[in-house]
Every structure is written in C-alpha cells, then in structure tokens.
C-alpha cells in the first residue's frame, strides 16, 4: 500500500513541471500558433528561477524570475512567428537553440561554469507540494478560461476561425501575441519547478526532452486542458514505474518509448480523432 502511494507520489512530482509546460503549450496552440519551443522555455525558466532564488533567497522570486524570462522569450517568439510571419517550426527550433546556447553562456558569466548553478538551501526551494497545487490550479484556471470566458472564446476563434474573429473587430494576431506570451511564461515556470522545486539547482541537460514530452502530452490530450493533465499524469506514472522497476521484465528503454508510441497512435487517428486547432500554424 505504501508502495502504491510512493509510486503515485513520485508520478505526481515528475508530472508537475510537465503540467505547467503543457498548459503553456495549450495557450499558444489553441490560439493557432505551433509551439515546439517548450523545451527552450523550460531551459530558460529553470535557469532564471535558480538565479532569481539565489539572488533574493526566495523561491517565489525564483518562480517570478522564470515567468519573466518566459515572457521575454515568448515575446521574441511571438514577434517572429506572429508579427513577422516566420515559419513557426523554424522559429521554434531557433528559440530552442537560443535557449540551449544562451543559458550556458550566462551561466559562465555569472558563475564561472557552464554546468550547475550554486546549490540552494532547502528552505529557499519551492516545495513540490506547492508546485503540484499550483499546477492543478493552473489546469483548472486554463480549462475555465478557455471554456467560459470571452478571452477564452477569442483564443479559440483565433485558433479555429481567425477570419470570424477579425470580422468581429478583434485582431487575431493580437490575441495570438498575448496567448503566446502568457503560455511561454507558464512553460518557463515548468522549468522553474524542475530546477528549484524537484532539485536544488539548475544543471545542464536537466530539461532533457521534457518540453517535448509536455508537447506530446498536450497532443495526447487532444489540445484540451483536463485530458492533457491526464496525459501528464500518465507519463509521470510511466516514468515513476521505470524508476521503481529498473530491473523489470520490460527493458527500461522500451518503457521510455511508450508515451511517444501511444501518442503516435492517437495522432494517426486510430483511437478517436485528434483534431488540431484548424488554423494551427497558418499565417492569417
């Protein structure tokens, strides 16, 4: 029994950064902008949080620093992909490269090494209980906003029928700009949970594909908040089980592959229909 609780607890821990990033991705993609830069956003967020917490001695300030870094990165990405109509895959790839290069660059300037930031004492770390509560609150908030508020309606229209929104006198591009910036802040906070919540510092290669995993969860959840949360928890559970059963009957590497293989099957429409927002990636 305690074993079961242990597994559930560890899955929840593992899932919490993914939840932030997946909700951030949801805001971007539901407004019609492809966001493959979640990985880079988690990297800058993780680093900014560690720096912020170190400088101020407060985890909350670290989280705020991550959100701020996300806003800055999100703004650049939004300018490129929405205003200057850059191809969103290309711009997102560029943002990922930028994050991967810029973080060690800044780390070298600030701390004389490119590996790990100085370690935070326990009381300056973000309690993961708080991180989980916050993550669940954000899911509820995003789900509610998308479904029942005017802003949510605009975001959905920007992603599905931008022309209709335009004729209602609201600029789809402005909606997208703001959605992308807000979503990027959330995704960067996911990186913060990783660095100052689940660990005590930001270290190189810490994100290790989690941004892409969050994107995967978003798609597995068919671009909806609660199902995406379910996917994050499922992926967290899969990873939690791997850690428990390192020497199990199924090789670890094949277990790791499972979330991606399942998503591929869902994406191919073999299990229901995964329909992306209609105007996703379009420049209109």
């Amino acid at each position: 029994m305690s074993d079961l609780i242990g597994i559930l607890e560890s899955s929840l821990r593992i899932a919490s950064p993914l939840i932030f990033a997946a909700m951030g991705g949801l805001l971007c993609e539901r407004s019609g902008v492809i966001q493959i830069g979640l990985e880079g956003l988690m990297i800058v967020g993780g680093f900014a949080a560690a720096v912020g917490a170190l400088q101020t001695g407060s985890a909350a300030a670290g989280l705020a620093a991550a959100a701020l870094a996300g806003v800055v990165f999100g703004y650049v990405y939004a300018e490129l992909s929405v205003r200057f109509r850059a191809n969103q895959i290309v711009a997102g790839t560029g943002m990922n490269f930028l994050a991967m290069g810029l973080v060690p660059f800044l780390s070298k300037v600030l701390y004389e090494n490119t590996g790990t930031t100085p370690s935070l004492p326990l009381e300056q770390r973000l309690s993961w209980h708080w991180a989980v509560v916050l993550a669940l609150g954000i899911v509820a908030g995003v789900a509610w906003m998308i479904r029942s508020t005017p802003v949510g309606l605009w975001i959905r229209f920007a992603g599905e029928h931008p022309a209709a929104l335009e004729s209602a006198g609201i600029s789809p591009r402005r909606v997208r700009m703001r959605s992308v910036i807000a979503g990027s802040a959330l995704a960067a906070m996911g990186g913060a949970v990783l660095s100052i919540g689940l660990a005590s510092a930001y270290s190189r290669n810490m994100v290790a594909g989690r941004g892409f995993m969050a994107l995967t969860a978003l798609i597995f959840g068919k671009w909806r908040a609660w199902p995406a949360l379910g996917a994050c928890l499922l992926f967290g559970l899969a990873e939690g089980l791997q850690v428990r059963f390192q020497s199990g009957a199924i090789p670890v590497q094949l277990m790791q592959v499972l979330p991606y293989a399942l998503t591929l099957v869902v994406l191919a429409g073999f299990v229901g229909r995964a329909r992306a927002p209609q105007a996703l990636g379009r420049q209109d």
């Binding site: 200057f84 490269f97 591929l264």
Partner: protein, 355 residues
C-alpha cells in the same frame, strides 16, 4: 550567376555572426579576439581544416535530408532519429558481415543504413499522406522512439562485451572508409566525397527529372499538383523515405569513417543543425554544400573557445545558429525593412523633385 538568392542568406549569416560576437563583448571578451579564435580554430592549419570538413560531413547529409522533405513541402524534424537508426543499421551490417571485400562492403552497409532510416522516415510520410497526421509532430515522436530503440540495441543485443562504454562491436575492417590524405590526424574520410556527390546528384535530380518536378509541384501547391494528376500522397511518402535514407549517411563519416563503432549519443544534434543548414541554403542542394561547410567551421571554431577565451565557451555556436535561424526566419522583417527603405528613397526623391 544570379546574386539575389545568395544575398538574403548572406545577410542572415552576417547578422547572426555579428550579433553573436557582440554578445561576447557583454561577457567581457573582445569580439575581434573571439572572431580570430573562430577563424583560426576552423581554418588555422590543415588539421583544423580537416576537422571542419569532418564536422561538415554529417551536416551535409542532414542538410540534404531536410532539404528534400522541404522541397515537397514537408518539415523533417526527424533527421535526428533517422540518422541514429540508420547509423545503427549500418554498424550492424558492418560488424555482422566482416568478410565482404571492400567496395561491395561499403555498398552493403550503406544500403542497410539507408533502408532502415528510409523506412523509419517513411512511417512519418505514410502517417502524413494517409492519416493526415502532421509530420512535425510525428517525427518528434519518432525521434524519441528511435533514441529508445537505439539505446536498447546498443546496451543489449549489439553491446561490445569488452568495454563499459555504451558502444557496439567494432565494424569489419573492409567496411572502414579511407581517410582523406593531407589533413594530419583529422578523421575526415571518403564519406565527405560521398556527401558532396549526393548533393550534386540531388541538385541535378531536382532540376532535370520528373521526380524533381513532382516534388516541387507538391511542395508549392498540393491542390494544383493533384489536379495535374501527380500522385501527391506517393510523392510525399517517397520524399520522406529519401530524406531518411540521406540522414543515414551521417553514419558513413561518424561510424565507418572515424569511430568504427556506434557510440551511444554520438550526435550533437546533427539532425537539428541540419534544419539550420537547409534553411540557410533555402533547400538548394548546392547551397547545402556551402552552408554545411560554414556550420562545420562554426562547430570546429567554437570548440577552441573553451581553451582560448576566459568567459566564452563552445555554446556560442548554438547562440549564433539560433540568431542565423532567426534572421533567416524573419522574412517579414526583411520585407518590411526593404519596404521602409524604398519608401524612404521614394520620399527623398519626391522631396527632391518638389524642391
């Protein structure tokens, strides 16, 4: 030769490089010193040039891979997964059949790699053409699955029992590609020549064959292509298969040309850098040659930064790559700058005429 197609990429390249170097000033380095290290690191000696060519080789293949898909209007984010499974299959063939004599042995290992990587990429092509799944998402998924499969294979059935390192058995001697002479100890091999040949061949195919025409038509306007009787789905699937097969060429330089075994995690994101390479080349195979060379030089030049500067590391390569991608990607920015410039010129002229 027309100048215009070269102008924009050149401007993007210079912008990226200049901004990247300016950033080093913020870190307390002299940008000129950094530039000097980059140039000396990449071209300073025959060995350095050889290393640049060595890094150019995989980028040539991934750049071509992305370009072929791009031609058909598809985004191959999956070169990373394709190259790892392709190189693995190549390695498998090369240590399983060590007794095949030299020219044939290369054909066998190349074919093994191209078949597996082509089939792997073909999955994304099929999903796109027949099931309507976006190839970007499916290739991202396939990348992770490929990474899992490769690490399983290297750690279990293909494991080299004589070492603790995560690597496979060594390839048969007859499969090893000869090194190019004149570059000292740099491991640049005949794989580079194969890559150059591939680029020229593809460039010719694009211009002069029905296949090239079909690719381009599908890429430019799917509906028009369908109307013209081009089998759009088949063209898309084939484009991905060829893209995958090309990505497997990375194994030629990295496995058969230098390491002689498959080492887990050997690729520093060659597949993703290939996107930048193809982008700068605007999908033109001859352009890929130039752009792979530049990115190879960047990779080699920046590795020397760790030792020769105080505050800047090789990670600068990623920053410069990102800036170049951003500069290429922001087509709207260039267009707007152009408009503003020409309208200013017009207004100047207007004022000149009025006064």
């Amino acid at each position: 030769m027309r100048i215009a197609p070269v102008l924009k990429p050149a401007a993007a390249l210079l912008t990226g490089l200049a901004l990247g170097l300016l950033a080093t000033a913020l870190a307390g380095e002299s940008p000129l010193h950094v530039l000097g290290v980059l140039v000396r690191g990449a071209f300073g000696s025959r060995y350095d040039l050889g290393m640049t060519l060595f890094y150019m080789t995989p980028l040539l293949f991934t750049g071509l891979s992305v370009s072929v898909a791009f031609r058909a209007g598809l985004f191959n984010i999956g070169a990373e997964g394709q190259l790892s499974l392709g190189a693995l299959a190549m390695t498998w063939a090369a240590f399983t059949f060590p007794s095949i004599p030299a020219p044939l042995s290369w054909a066998v290992s190349m074919l093994a790699g191209a078949t597996v990587a082509g089939a792997w990429a073909g999955i994304a092509g099929w999903l796109k053409a027949r099931r309507g799944s976006h190839e970007v998402i499916s290739t991202i998924m396939l990348n992770f699955i490929a990474a899992g499969l490769a690490s399983y294979a290297v750690l279990n059935p293909f494991k080299n029992p004589e070492t603790q390192n995560p690597e496979t058995l060594a390839v048969g001697a007859s499969h090893i590609l000869p090194a190019l002479p004149g570059f000292g100890d740099a491991p640049v091999s005949a794989a580079l020549l194969i890559g150059l040949l591939m680029a020229c061949w593809l460039g010719w195919l694009f211009q002069h064959t029905r296949w090239g025409f079909e690719l381009q038509t599908v890429g430019e306007n799917e509906n028009a292509a369908r109307m013209a009787g081009i089998p759009v789905e088949r063209v898309q699937i084939m484009a991905m298969v060829v893209a995958g097969a090309l990505a497997s060429g990375v194994g030629l330089g990295e496995v058969l040309g230098s390491a002689h075994r498959y080492k887990l995690g050997f690729s520093p994101d060659y597949g993703f850098v290939g996107i930048a390479v193809a982008l700068l080349a605007r999908g033109n195979p001859f352009g890929v040659i130039a752009s792979a060379f530049l990115f190879g030089a960047l990779h080699k030049g920046t590795t020397d930064l760790d030792l020769e500067t105080e505050h800047v590391t090789r990670d600068l390569a990623l920053v410069i790559q990102a800036l170049i991608i951003g500069a290429v990607a922001a087509e709207g920015l260039w267009a707007r700058l152009g408009e503003r410039l020409s309208s200013r010129l017009r207004s100047l002229k207007g004022r000149g005429g009025g006064g």
